[in-house]
Symmetry: C2
């Protein structure tokens, strides 16, 4: 344990848990887990990329504490978030005879975390679950809040449960080997927490983002901890997404529509890039609705561009559908209430709010301008 | 609404719900549902036997309130509690575009209720769920408590979630057409509630069981309502089965072992019959351990025999495995703590308790006597 490590407590009553953030946590996973859980049988679910890098180290760390490890390695990629791999996970956990005090460990990015958490949530109607997120996006987003699930042919994340982990180990060393594009995409969610309701954090990011992007060092850990804390604060108030939690969708309504419009083709657009463009659009649209100043939109755009993220729709390679088609995707994604759309808009830096009365005609004109310009 | 109808409220905070018990509830389902839920799209999941009898009446009742019905009919039988039908249910609910204020309705016995509740629990991480249980067992057992799930090749009910219904409509008319053996099997669970902690109810059943078995009439409704209320009281105190809820397993530890020993062959033994024999064994074993009098065991045995339920292992056709094999099945079913077994035993009529320190050697001698005698 050193000064570089931070702990974020997610307060959810008897489902509260700690997120440990810092270097070397995979190597120390056995000790951290053995100190908290009585069980000595752990199923570890990973994918072939992450497993090749970290499974041996994790297994050794657990074995050193007398923990038996039952690994399952699945193909990497979004397709693994589906029923067949889910059934494999459930069977694996049952075969490993994981019982009440044991746990299921997810070692990987968002796909492995969402899938493994879902399996842990339904085996014996809820099995202990530990997350070791290995992407920046997974560390700052899916490690907080307990959303788990798989995709359906009807859409993404449509089948799942809320299942809180017992412990999250966010080893920041693993971020040093992430492809730069993937790190940037995760950073979009980091910036998002500032834009939702933490203006000081956003200002700090504007000054310090180079340190956050640099391998190792305390700035990166501080950024991740602040992000987890920001999300934890929201989730503690609204675990099941009745209201407030919708703020976490800042940039996601436009972003999801762009992801759908590009056929979820990661060569063209990954989730964080869609969120980056979506956050800029949300700020521009807020300006258009006279809610916030156009300067704020320009400021957000400038920061996201500085870190290397795309900030406008014309940066997406391959051409986009019409404004009408995008609006349709938005209306499908978010429920339409009495003909009005729900968006996360803003009244200033870090002053986001849920606007559930946005006229579709305004969105359409806005998108036409943006696509035409 | 008439004097014949009773309502049991299951108190679970913001997950509280009503169980309506009485005749004609399928015909009145549309009005009851439309009065409580705003949504006007309902997916109805049933099996081919129940669907053939009641789906048209239910659909007409819902349609009369302007509710669109999206039915899915699955094969009848325990095999339907598995992943493939679960995936069909999820797809069906998504195709029907069931949204936040709509609901998924289970029309059937325990299999359909458990499967449909599981699907409702995972589509969009939780969709509204209405149960219309059509067997006595489903009305008095699975309609209370929110346990949902499917079987795995590793055992029964190993995959699932807790998902409370929004409303339960227990139409007692449907019981009039149940095969007598199935009605009796459900009655074993009715008697169980008396034996757990309602001695007055058990005494009333001893006097009034003929009225409960007679088609129609208030005694049957009273028995079902008392059973639902008894289970609701336990579940309200222990929703996620941390302790007290284990009392509901009275008769089930021996019963499950007998079900496993007969290969879940319903021609030989159905669940309620296993519970009947199991409750007698639990009372006999309590007497053997000097916890309760042998007279009580004889009294319980006499009542269950009077209604036509099997009360001893030698009534099971086809021969049973050895005492050792049964003990192994018991040890697998219930977790062994430090070499001791957990059973629900009793100190008197309606004075059941969780005994977590039962020596396996005592159980073995007891089973040897019973199988030998």
């Amino acid at each position: 344990m050193d000064d570089l490590e931070k702990t974020v407590r997610v307060e959810l009553g008897d489902r509260s848990y700690d997120i440990l953030i810092g270097p070397g946590l995979i190597a120390r996973a056995g000790a951290e887990i053995a100190g908290r859980l009585k069980g000595r049988r752990m199923a570890v679910i990973t994918d072939e990329h992450v497993g090749a890098r970290y499974l041996d180290a994790l297994t050794a760390s657990l074995a050193a504490e007398g923990i038996s490890v039952f690994p399952l390695t699945l193909p990497a990629g979004e397709r693994t978030k589906s029923f067949d791999p889910l059934i494999r996970c459930c069977d694996h956990v049952l075969e490993a005879k994981i019982e009440r005090n044991d746990a299921v460990i997810a070692l990987g990015g968002g796909v492995i975390g969402d899938l493994t958490g879902f399996a842990a949530g339904i085996v014996r109607r809820g099995t202990r679950f530990i997350q070791i997120p290995t992407s920046l996006l997974a560390q700052v987003d899916s490690s907080v809040g307990g959303k788990t699930g798989i995709n359906s042919r009807h859409g993404k994340n449509l089948i799942g449960v809320f299942h809180q982990p017992d412990l999250v180990l966010a080893d920041t060393d693993v971020l040093d080997t992430l492809p730069p594009r993937e790190f940037r995409a995760g950073y979009a969610e980091v910036a998002k927490y500032g834009l939702i309701d933490k203006p000081d954090f956003f200002e700090w990011l504007e000054k310090s983002w180079r340190d956050v992007f640099a391998a190792g060092g305390p700035a990166r850990i501080r950024a991740i901890a602040a992000s987890c804390q920001a999300k934890a604060d929201v989730v503690a108030q609204d675990e099941r997404e009745a209201g407030l939690r919708a703020l976490l969708n800042l940039g996601h309504t436009f972003g999801h529509a762009l992801e759908a419009a590009t056929g979820y083709d990661s060569a063209r657009l990954v989730h964080g890039e869609g969120v980056s463009i979506g956050m800029v659009l949300a700020h521009q649209f807020s300006a258009r609705m006279n809610l916030a100043s156009p300067d704020l939109a320009r400021r957000v755009e400038a920061h996201l561009r500085a870190v290397g993220l795309p900030v406008s729709m014309d940066e997406i390679p391959g051409g986009l559908p019409s404004a009408e088609t995008l609006l349709e995707a938005i209306a499908q994604d978010k429920k339409v209430k009495g003909g009005k759309l729900t968006f996360i808009l803003t009244r200033g830096l870090g002053q986001s709010f849920v606007a559930d009365d946005v006229p579709p005609s305004e969105v359409l004109s806005f998108l036409r301008e943006k696509l035409g310009g």
